[in-house]
Symmetry: none
Subunit: 227 residues, 2 copies
DNA sequence: CTGATTGTTACAAAACGGTGACACACCCAT
DNA sequence: ATGGGTGTGTCACCGTTTTGTAACAATCAG
């Protein structure tokens, strides 16, 4: 399992340093930003697994950052922990309305932040959709159970193959490039050749047997799941 | 469809406010209570569609409230989501299983609570409540009685093993990651190695003897209880 | 036909999970 | 207090599976 990246946004250098040190010490990669605009740019580019976001920021404040991120498709699911000072109850609540996953009131202990980060990451991004399943005559995919049935018989997919299939089905009908697959299935920190995807596509097709043709090649572009 | 009423019982004002706001924001009516006795009175009078109940409460604690409600004919079917923090508390909820429909470990994210509320309300018929018991030829698990029988003979499980088995059975069919098990069985404050789960799975399998294969390994992901 | 793109195969390295051993903290009876 | 028994978390080791890559074959488009 590769390291998760946590992004910390805080204008107070002391607190920022403390947070970065603590979180890094717990084995995460840390990216920092000191104001809202930088936070937005970095968050979109680096795709951190989680954001620790101060409410009070120079320029664009935490709420706006939160709102902007929730608006973007790619960043909407990014969990956010808000840092608030006491007495900002209204602000805090509004922040949560905008999709923050949790909040911590200052002054906080580094340990507390870590616990929340871990708790949220463990659960993974709660999916808004109930148990996404692909179901057609003789071909059954259950993402929650992590199971694939073909003509009633379970077939064994490795973790990567399953993630790849899930990604294909989630975007059924749409072509995705190899790089997109690398990003979503392997993670954005993966440094390898794009042709790796080809190999896994092949293995997947092989195991899908009669349904191999659902995974279509779009020459010059990438792959697509046929609806 | 008229708004459902959700009742939130929690003595910490911050958390209560947060919950109330979040749930209200999702389009439910919210009633709150800060201690066990008030909770009982309000629950009987207002008949909420669902109860979010903290385990630790001043005076009468969450379990007692739960027990009382289950006793009353009018309130017995009321779904309850328990909030727990520490490992020992998880013990009590899982062990006694006094009719709570689900439980969430603190710290939780507002989004998570909402998902569970929706999930339970969607189930509608209380008959679809997850059965507290696993029963098959020669293999009998009674979560309430905290007892496991194999071919009629009781087998001795330690507290951790039982909680682990309970968690597996509660989510039978679904894969859960090691981290998720740590969260639900050990509690969020546990700071240890994820492979600890492996060891307990092994001990559990050992004791399950002929039914060891009910606990399936999903390589690269986690574990799953076979239906 | 030809260059580019994709499919196929083989293989070594890495990742993963099972297992036994062990240290430690408890608890309880001595 | 002492000592054995029990439950628990961690570690190191090992066989197996998985995975990324390279090299080669097949296919496609122009």
């Amino acid at each position: 399992m590769s390291k998760s990246t946590i992004m910390v946004v805080e204008d107070d250098q002391d607190i920022l340093g403390l947070l970065a040190y603590t979180i890094r010490g717990a084995g995460f990669d840390v990216v920092t930003a000191a104001d809202g605009l930088e936070a937005l740019v970095q968050a979109r580019r680096r795709r951190p697994a989680l954001l620790v976001l101060d409410l009070m920021l120079p320029g664009m404040d935490g709420l706006e950052v939160c709102r902007e991120l929730k608006r973007g498709v790619e960043t909407a699911a990014m969990p956010i922990i808000m840092l608030t000072a006491r007495g900002e109850e209204i602000d805090r609540v509004v922040g949560l309305e905008l999709g923050a996953d949790d909040y911590v009131v200052k002054p906080f202990s580094p340990r507390e932040i870590l616990l929340r980060i871990r708790a949220i990451l463990r659960r993974g991004a709660p999916s808004e959709k109930p148990a996404p399943i692909w179901e057609e005559e003789g071909f059954h995919v259950d993402l929650e159970a992590h199971r694939v049935l073909i003509n009633g018989n379970p077939i064994e997919l490795t973790a990567t193959e399953f993630k790849l299939l899930a990604e294909l089905i989630r975007n059924r009908g749409k072509v995705q490039t190899r790089d997109q697959f690398l990003d979503k299935v392997w993670g954005y920190q993966f440094e390898g050749y794009a042709r790796t995807v080809d190999t896994h596509i092949r293995r997947l097709r092989q195991k899908l047997g009669p349904f191999a043709d659902r995974v279509e090649t779009v020459r010059g572009v990438g792959y697509r799941f046929r609806e």
